[in-house]
Every structure is written in C-alpha cells, then in structure tokens.
C-alpha cells in the first residue's frame, strides 16, 4: 500500500522522466528503460491490422464473429480474447460537417495498476520493462482484476477460466523486437519505445496539432500526476476520452484502500463490541 500513498503525488506533475518508476518499485534493481505505447489516434485509419497482428502473434482465440450494427466496430471492446480494439466514432455536428474518429485501444500498463494490486495469487506481475502481465500458470480465475480495472481492459476467458490481457508482447520486447500491433500499424498510429521518448514525441505532435488549429487534440494518460500515475500506454485523442469509451478521469481504486481498511477495522471492532455487550444484563 505504501506504493500508493507516496509523496510523489503531492509534488504535482512530474516531468516526462520524473514519474514513478514501477519496475524499480517492484524490486528490479537494474532494469531496462520503461517501455510503452503512444497511440496517436489522429493518424489511425481504422484498418484493424493491430487487432489481427495481436491475435496472430499471441495466439488469442476467436471471440465471436457477430456484427454489432452500430458502426464498423464489430469488436466492441477489449476483453480476455481481444487485446487491441479499434473504436469507430461517427460524429455529425452541423449540416455538411462530419468526422470519423478511430482509435486503437489497448491495456494501459498503468504505473499504479489496480489489477496488479488486487490480484490475490500474485499471477499478475510487473515486468522489468514496467509493464503488467498475467502469469497464466498461476492465475486461478478469481476475477478480481476484472472488477478492479478502471478501463475495462482485462477479462476472464470462458474457455479456460483464466484472466488474460495485453502483455505488451513481453516475449517480443525481451528479444528487442517491436510488439506485433505496433509492427503491423501502417500509419505509425501505434508507436512503441521507451516511455520518456514517447512522451516527448507525443508533446511535439500535440504542439503541431494545436498550431494547426486542431484545438480538440489532447494527450490522455501521459501525466504521471493523474489517477493511475500515468500509463505505459497513452494516447493522443481528438475529443473527450469518454467519446472513445475511455474513462475521463480514472483513479486507481487502491488509492482509497488504506481508508477502507480503517473503516473495516472500526466496523469489525464495533461488531465485536456489540456482540460482547449483547450478553450482558440479566443472566438466565
């Protein structure tokens, strides 16, 4: 819990490299730089190559072939068997004015990861790259991570009962390769690299867009002072996050846990006292 009540949050926004170092806090004394994704949705063309490449490389099973009927998004959402999800937003604002927003969503690999905090078996772990992965041979399918994720990323797979999500291609990046989705992205909407480099690049791109008059452009989850301590996978969006199905101001649930434990202790004490007192009075 000490990881959540840090002075780091009181000191306000840290600079790109000054955020918390999740790998070091997890006990990696000597570790490679924190790696992540910068998804620049302003150049996403909705081709879904990332979804396909992810499924292929990670051997993620098929999870339904239905058409949603709402848009070109027939995937719907991230889940145990969908680790990249391309959202299609159609906006018609005024006569003659419309636009499409497309965005490839993924696990955020949060600095303060709710799924990792609540996992009771230790199946979810932090890697030396600062990413968060599920160890399938440890997970017992309790489903706690599913409810703890503020983004609705991780899910429990019906077929094997275990929790699954994006690994940021732990196997590939360990060998110096680019994750499958970023490799397959034809427009470099998905960029992979050391997180501090990605943050600089994202800021430059944002400045360019603002200069060109695209006032709606904003970065999402890039700030180490936000509710999840900044994410390993962050985004450049062209509208408010909720339009893409993302929470506008997510806060990791475990930040309130110390307070919850105090209330639990007080409540348990009250119950014990009430039970003890209930036996007082006239003896039979």
């Amino acid at each position: 819990m000490s990881t959540h009540v840090g002075a780091a949050f009181a000191s306000g926004p840290a600079d790109a490299a000054g955020g918390l170092d999740p790998a070091a806090r997890s006990g990696y004394a000597d570790h490679p730089p924190r790696m992540g994704f910068f998804t620049d949705t302003s150049v996403c063309i909705g081709c879904k190559a990332c979804e396909v490449a992810c499924k292929e490389w990670n051997a993620v099973p098929e999870d339904g072939l239905e058409l949603t009927g709402m848009s070109y998004d027939n995937t719907g959402s991230l889940s145990a068997s969908t680790w990249r999800h391309v959202a299609f937003v159609e906006q018609i604002s005024r006569p003659g004015e419309a636009r499409w927003l497309m965005s490839s969503d993924v696990c955020k690999h949060c600095t303060e990861a709710g799924c990792l905090d609540v996992c009771p078996t230790g199946a979810l772990m932090r890697t030396e790259f600062g990413t968060v992965v599920v160890q399938d041979d440890v997970c017992n399918g309790c489903g706690y991570c599913v409810s703890a994720c503020p983004f609705g990323v991780i899910g429990r797979r019906e077929t094997d009962g275990g929790a699954h999500k994006c690994t940021l291609c732990y196997d590939r990046i360990g060998d110096g390769l680019t994750p499958a989705c970023a490799k397959a992205c034809p427009t470099e909407s998905i960029q992979f690299g050391p997180l501090d480099e990605l943050r600089e690049r994202a800021q430059a791109r944002l400045d360019d867009l603002h200069e060109a008059g695209v006032d709606d452009a904003r970065l999402y989850l890039n700030d180490p002072a936000d509710g999840v301590g900044g994410a390993g996978a962050f985004f450049l969006l062209l509208d408010e996050p909720e339009v893409y199905g993302l929470p506008p101001d997510p806060v990791v649930t475990t930040r309130d846990l110390p307070r919850m434990w105090r209330h639990v202790a007080a409540a348990a004490g009250a119950l014990a006292a009430a039970a003890l007192l209930s036996g007082l009075g006239r003896r039979p």
């Binding site: 081709c47 889940s79 159609e90 906006q91 018609i92 604002s93 006569p95 004015e97 419309a98 636009r99 499409w100 905090d117 996992c119 009771p120 078996t121 199946a123 440890v138 997970c139 399918g141 309790c142 489903g143 409810s147 703890a148 609705g152 797979r157 680019t178 034809p186 427009t187 470099e188 690299g193 050391p194 690049r201 360019d208 060109a212 695209v214 006032d215 709606d216 062209l238 909720e242 506008p248 101001d249 309130d256 846990l257 307070r259 919850m260 209330h263 639990v264 007080a266 409540a267 348990a268 009250a270 119950l271 009430a274 039970a275 003890l276 209930s278 036996g279 009075g281 003896r283 039979p284």
Partner: protein
C-alpha cells in the same frame, strides 16, 4: 450530451428519460467490465460469511454469560455458514482446482488475499468450536477455538465490504465509507435473527439484543449512505437492486418491531428472527446487484469523473462543450518525420514514405490508397461526403450527434433490462 445540446433539447419540450444526462459515451457501451462473479456464489457468500462471523462473536458472548444452548446454536450456524461460503468461493473461481493459489502470497493491497488468510484462520476455528460444542469432546480446545473464532469472525464479516469497494465498480467503490458498517450491521442482524429463531426464549436475550442493534444500525447506515451518495445512490434505489433493498428494509423494520414487542413470545420471536435473517440476505443481494447495474451503465462511470474534472479546474477552451467538431474537416498536419527517432532501424517505413505519392494515381485500386497517407490532405473531405447521407437522415430525424449517442445508450440499456 453537452450542456448546450441539453438546453436545446429541453427547449423543444422533449422529456428526458434521464434528467441532466450530461455525458457522452461510446455507443452507450460500458466503460468498465461488469463483475464476473456469480450472484449465487458471491452475493451468497456475503450473506453466509457475515452470518458466520457475527454468529461466532455471538457464541462467545453467550458462552461467557452461561447461555450454552444459544452458544451451541450460534457455533453450529457459524460452522455451517462458513462451510457453505468456502464451497461457494471455490465454485466461483474460473479454475477451482487452483483455489490454494490464494495462499501463495499475502498482499494487503488485495482484500481478497487478506480475506483468504482470514478465512484460513477463521474457518477451522469455527469448525472446531462447533464440533466440540455439539459432541462435548475436548472442552478446552473448544473454548480456545470459540475465542479464536470470535476474534477473527468480525473481521470476516467486515472485510467483504473492502472486497467490493476496492474495485472500479462505481456503486461499490463510492460507498466505501459506509459499506463496512452496513455489512457488519447486516451480519449482526442475521446472526441475532438466527439465534432468535433457533434458541429457547430464556436463552435468546443476547441474540435479540444483537439482532435489534444490528437492524437499527443497518437502517441508520443505509439512509446515511444514500444521503451522502446523492445521485450516486441511484443504482441502489432502482431496478432489481432497488426492489431487493426496499424489501430488505421492510423486513428489517418489521423484524425489529416484532423482536422489540414480542421477543419473549416463542412464535413471534421465531417470526421476527426469520424476517431479520431474510432481510440480511436481501441486503447483500441488493448491494451486489447495485454494483452490477452501475458497472453496466456508462453514466455511473463517466458522470462523476466529469464532475470531478469540472470541480478541479476552470474549463479550458478544449473542454468546452461546443468543441470544434469540424476539426476533422481541416487537414491534420502530418506527423514529423520520425525515421531517426526510432529505437531501431525500420527500413519498411522509409519505403512506405517513398511510395505513397504513387498511390494517388487515378485508377489505383479503389482509390483508397490515399487513406493510408499520413498527411491526410484531401481524404478528410472524402469522409465527409461518405457520411453525408447519414447526416441528412439524422437531420430529418431532428437529432444531432450528441443526442444520437445518448439515445443509442438508452436503447441498449432498455434492451439489457428486458433481457435481464
């Protein structure tokens, strides 16, 4: 829906299904995942775990005051209830054969981990206490187990509140300051109620006291919780959760009254006890369903977060509701050339940059090659033309994009309600 759109909406005299629904969403889809926990297993465990924990505390109190029959009833109930709990918890796992993985680590950041260790200490103690009380064997061991179960039992009854609150589920998380007190009150109500039902009247005084204290506390905590939550209490007050919690409150009040006026009448005491046990179960199922409903509807995730943003900072130009939706019309500037920035050499990208201009030649497959062009010169206009028909249809229907999004959400919600 933005504020401006909302005003326009009301000016036309239309009734909003959800008042002040000032939020936008992705086709009304949920932001977070609905809990995968089964209702019978986990809501059932909330009830049985609470019943067990409070019963163990009641048993110790009864034994201390020389009411051995009540103590035996409470110990037996505790052992039975915690046995059912263990079965339910293992059954709810996606991989039940790995239930023992719960004890690989101890993590205070995980209420489930803390709970697993608590149950590991409490369960056997409750079992031994009951076995000794029923058989009369090993009274010394039985007494020690009774004390151990009474010490850990209230923890078992209370920690389940943190188990639910330490999630992203809005109705559960936002209730975290009251949920532990609601849960121990409910546990006391159940344990006292069961004692009132099963023990002889001469012995039942501690059970009656505990049940009445629990019921009174439950009514108070619940109303304070709803008051503080304000609009956030809606998941608890509507739908299936609302019906269950309303019924629970009626049973609590009825049981409390019956226990107060006729607790010394054997029949009335049994009826009062049954009502209180039932009310506790309904409360747990109600809380469980409220969480599920709040996870399913993006409104409960998005609206409080938007309110938090608005409260924290004055609106910036980019946050204003009447944002420039036309931004897609003006060409987005191309990304800066990043070829040198890449961590490793990626010759493919250079090739793409080189051959892209060729894709503009007329007659190239479907003319779609330009879509992959990073500079987005003309294709922005192309997209507008393609969605032009959709727009005209929307115009005929008299709806703008924001309303369209909300309505899609409402319809999906209604559909889900019907399915449920």
């Amino acid at each position: 829906m933005t504020a401006t759109e909302n005003r326009r909406h009301q000016a036309r005299g239309e009734e909003l299904m959800v008042p002040q629904a000032e939020f936008r969403s992705y086709y009304g889809l949920p932001v977070i995942k609905e809990p995968v926990w089964g209702v019978r297993d986990v809501a059932g465990y909330l009830f049985f775990g609470g019943l067990a924990g409070a019963s163990s505390a009641l048993a110790a109190s009864a034994e201390l005051s020389g009411r051995h029959e009540l103590a035996r009833v409470a110990k037996t109930a505790a052992a039975g209830a915690i046995g059912l709990s263990a079965l339910a918890l293992v059954h709810d796992l996606g991989r039940p054969a790995r239930f023992h993985h719960m004890l690989r680590v101890f993590k205070p950041t995980s209420p489930m981990s803390v709970g697993s260790w608590l149950l590991t200490a409490y369960g056997p103690a409750a079992g031994v206490a009951a076995a000794s009380a029923v058989t009369g064997l090993l009274p010394g061991v039985g007494r020690a187990a009774t004390v151990a179960a009474a010490v850990t039992g209230p923890g078992v009854a209370a920690y389940t509140a943190a188990l639910l609150a330490d999630t992203a589920v809005p109705a559960w998380h936002d209730a975290h300051p009251e949920l532990p007190y609601l849960f121990v009150s409910s546990a006391a109500t159940a344990a006292g109620g069961l004692g009132l039902m099963l023990a002889r009247t001469e012995q039942a005084a501690p059970a009656r006291n505990l049940a009445m204290a629990g019921a009174a506390a439950e009514i108070t905590v619940r109303s304070r919780m709803f008051q503080r939550l304000g609009p956030g209490a809606e998941p608890y007050q509507s739908g299936r959760a609302g019906r269950l919690l309303d019924a629970a409150e009626m049973l609590t009040v009825g049981g409390l009254t019956a226990a107060a006026i006729g607790g010394r009448n054997r029949v009335l005491a049994a009826v009062a006890g049954a009502a209180l046990v039932a009310s506790s179960a309904l409360t747990r199922f109600g809380v469980f369903y409220a969480g599920r409903a709040s996870a399913r509807d993006p409104k409960y995730t998005i609206t409080p977060q938007k309110d938090r943003i608005r409260a924290a900072s004055p609106p910036r130009a980019q946050d204003l509701p009447a944002g420039r939706h036309g931004a897609g019309l003006s060409p987005l500037p191309p990304p800066r050339d990043r070829a040198q920035d890449h961590p490793g050499p990626q010759p493919e990208n250079d090739q793409i940059d080189d051959h892209l201009p060729g894709d503009h030649q007329p007659g190239h497959v479907g003319g779609r090659g330009d879509v992959t062009e990073p500079d987005g010169g003309e294709h922005g206009d192309g997209e507008v033309q393609r969605v032009g028909v959709v727009h005209r249809l929307a115009e005929v229907a008299g709806r703008d994009a924001g309303q369209h999004e909300i309505r899609a959400g409402e319809q999906q919600q209604e559909q889900r309600d019907r399915d449920a």
